[in-house]
Structures are given as structure tokens and as C-alpha cells.
Amino acid sequence: MKAVQIHRPFRSRRAFLGKAATTGTLLGAGLFGPRSAHAHDRPNQKSPNPIPGGVAPFSPFGVFIHHNPLNAANPLSALNDPSQITDFQGFVGLTHIRGGGTGINTVTGETMTLGFQADVGFNKGEFIATDGFQYRGTFAFV
């Protein structure tokens, strides 16, 4: 990856709004391990920064999410930033979609009809990573 350093002022990363501590104590500390799935498998990946805005759908519980959900009621011209990554230039795709499918218990063979609603997308382009350098990368929003 090509790296170019660009100065960026420090800002706070985590924005916890609160937690349901009474229920959380039942679960132990195992939930607070590495949050990027299997991150140890990709040690050379450079981490982008989140967009500053977003929503807190369960305020005051849960984390503030740096994401602007698509709203079918709004015209495209009123689109909020569809990227989850800031300091980014490139292509972004985002979809809010629903559908159905089949779940299979692979032990018993039992099948069940299931529905889903999903937000899926991608960012592909250049970004300034947490180390202040510029990289090219592709990220899936899943």
C-alpha cells in the first residue's frame, strides 16, 4: 500500500453513552475481546477512522454508531453521508434491503423459513488511517 502522511488533529474515538450494567455483569469479560472479527488474521490492514456523525438508536444504552442509515422517505438530494469512513475519497455503495431464506439445523436437518432485513455496502478508495498515512483499500459493510 502507498503511504502518504497527512496531519490530522487528534479527536476522541470512543463515545459510549451508557450500558445496561445489570444485565452485562452476567456475561463476563469475554465479550470485550478484539472487536474486529479475526483481526489477528490481518495484521497489515490499516485502520480507518469513523465519520464524526451518526445515530444512537438505543440511547442511552449502547454505543453511538458512526453511520447514517438510509431513509427511503428522503430524496436523494437530502442524503446523509453514506460512508462510515471519514477522510475518504472513493466509491461507496449502500443498500437497505429485506428478503427471506431458509435456515437449516445442520445437526438435525430441520429447515425453517426465515426473513431478514440487512444493511450492506462497501467503501473502495483512498483513506487516511489512524496512523495518519494515506492508503488505498476496500471495506465491506456487513
Binding site: 474515538r13 470512543r14 450500558k19 445496561a20 450494567a21 452485562g24 456475561l27 469475554g30 465479550l31 472479527a37 479475526h38 485502520s47 477512522n49 469513523p50 438508536p57 438505543f58 444504552f61 449502547g62 454505543v63 454508531i65 458512526h66 431513509n71 427511503a72 430524496p75 436523494l76 442524503l79 446523509n80 453521508d81 453514506p82 460512508s83 462510515q84 477522510d87 475518504f88 475519497q89 466509491f91 461507496v92 455503495g93 449502500l94 443498500t95 437497505h96 434491503i97 428478503g99 431464506g101 431458509t102 437449516i104 439445523n105 445442520t106 426465515l114 440487512a118 444493511d119 450492506v120 455496502g121 462497501f122 467503501n123 487516511i128 488505498r136 476496500t138 465491506a140 459493510f141 456487513v142
Partner: protein, 146 residues
């Protein structure tokens, strides 16, 4: 899916060719196979890091029991195409600008975790609620010319 340690929401690095964009042709695709993720079970547990929601206490949210995350793999095949609207946006308050298309989209996906497999229905454009495709600049790139 967990939230990245830097607070980037539900994004995971993938191979560069996983996303194929032909913006001039007003289409794009995302294909990932056997992507390893954490399954947080539901949105509430993802956003509370497995703590669930207590319910009551004067809040409108229902009680969501805490659920520990599990390992899973997912495969996605998403297509964006057939634009209906386009817009040039320059949003000073959110510091982003770019060319955007409102498009149709389809998704075909599957998931696996120990003891369970899910396979979605075949791609169906009528399932699209809203989708966009764009080229944008935000953050430090917002004030760059072009």
C-alpha cells in the same frame, strides 16, 4: 458483526477486487466469500456489546436478553444497478461531497456457524428498500478541488 476498535461501524477490510465499481455504467457489485465475522445475534446486542437491553425504566425499547457473540462466516453477492435518480451533493455541515445515484439492488447471501446454515432466496429487485451508489470525498478530502 462487531464495531471496529476505532469505532468504524460494521466495516471489515476485504480484498480489493471484492468490490467492482463501474460508475460510468452506473453499476457495482460486492462479492465476499466465507468472510469471518462475529455474530452478535441482534442489533441491540451488537450495539451494547452483548449486554442486551433491560426494558422498562421509562424507555421505549423492549427487553432484549444479553447474548454472547459467536463466530460465523458469511458470503455476500450484492449488485447495484438501474439508477432512478442522480444528485450532486455538497454537504458542508457533514463535510462530504460527491456524485450519487439512487439505484436498485439485489442481495444473495449465506451464513454458517456451528450447527446452522442460512441461505437467502434468489436475488429479487423488489426486495430493495433503498440503495445508493456514489463517488464521494469527505473529511480532509472534502476541501480538495475536484
Amino acid at each position: 458483526m462487531h464495531i471496529d476498535v476505532n469505532d468504524v461501524f460494521w466495516m471489515i477490510p476485504v480484498a480489493d477486487d471484492a468490490a467492482d465499481v463501474e460508475f460510468d455504467q452506473q453499476q457495482a457489485s460486492l462479492r465476499v466469500n466465507d468472510l469471518m465475522v462475529f455474530d452478535d445475534h441482534d442489533v441491540a446486542n451488537s450495539l451494547t456489546q452483548g449486554l442486551g437491553l433491560p426494558g422498562g425504566l421509562g424507555f421505549t425499547y423492549p427487553k432484549i436478553p444479553p447474548v454472547a457473540p459467536g463466530r460465523a462466516t458469511v458470503s455476500f453477492d450484492v449488485e447495484w444497478n438501474s439508477p432512478t435518480t442522480s444528485a450532486q451533493i455538497n454537504n458542508d455541515s457533514q463535510q462530504f461531497k460527491g456524485s450519487f445515484l439512487q439505484v436498485s439492488a439485489t442481495v444473495k447471501w449465506s451464513a454458517d456457524q456451528p450447527g446452522f446454515h442460512f441461505e437467502s432466496e434468489l436475488p429479487d429487485p423488489s426486495r430493495n428498500l433503498i440503495s445508493v451508489l456514489g463517488y464521494e470525498q469527505n473529511g480532509v478530502f472534502f476541501n480538495l478541488a475536484g
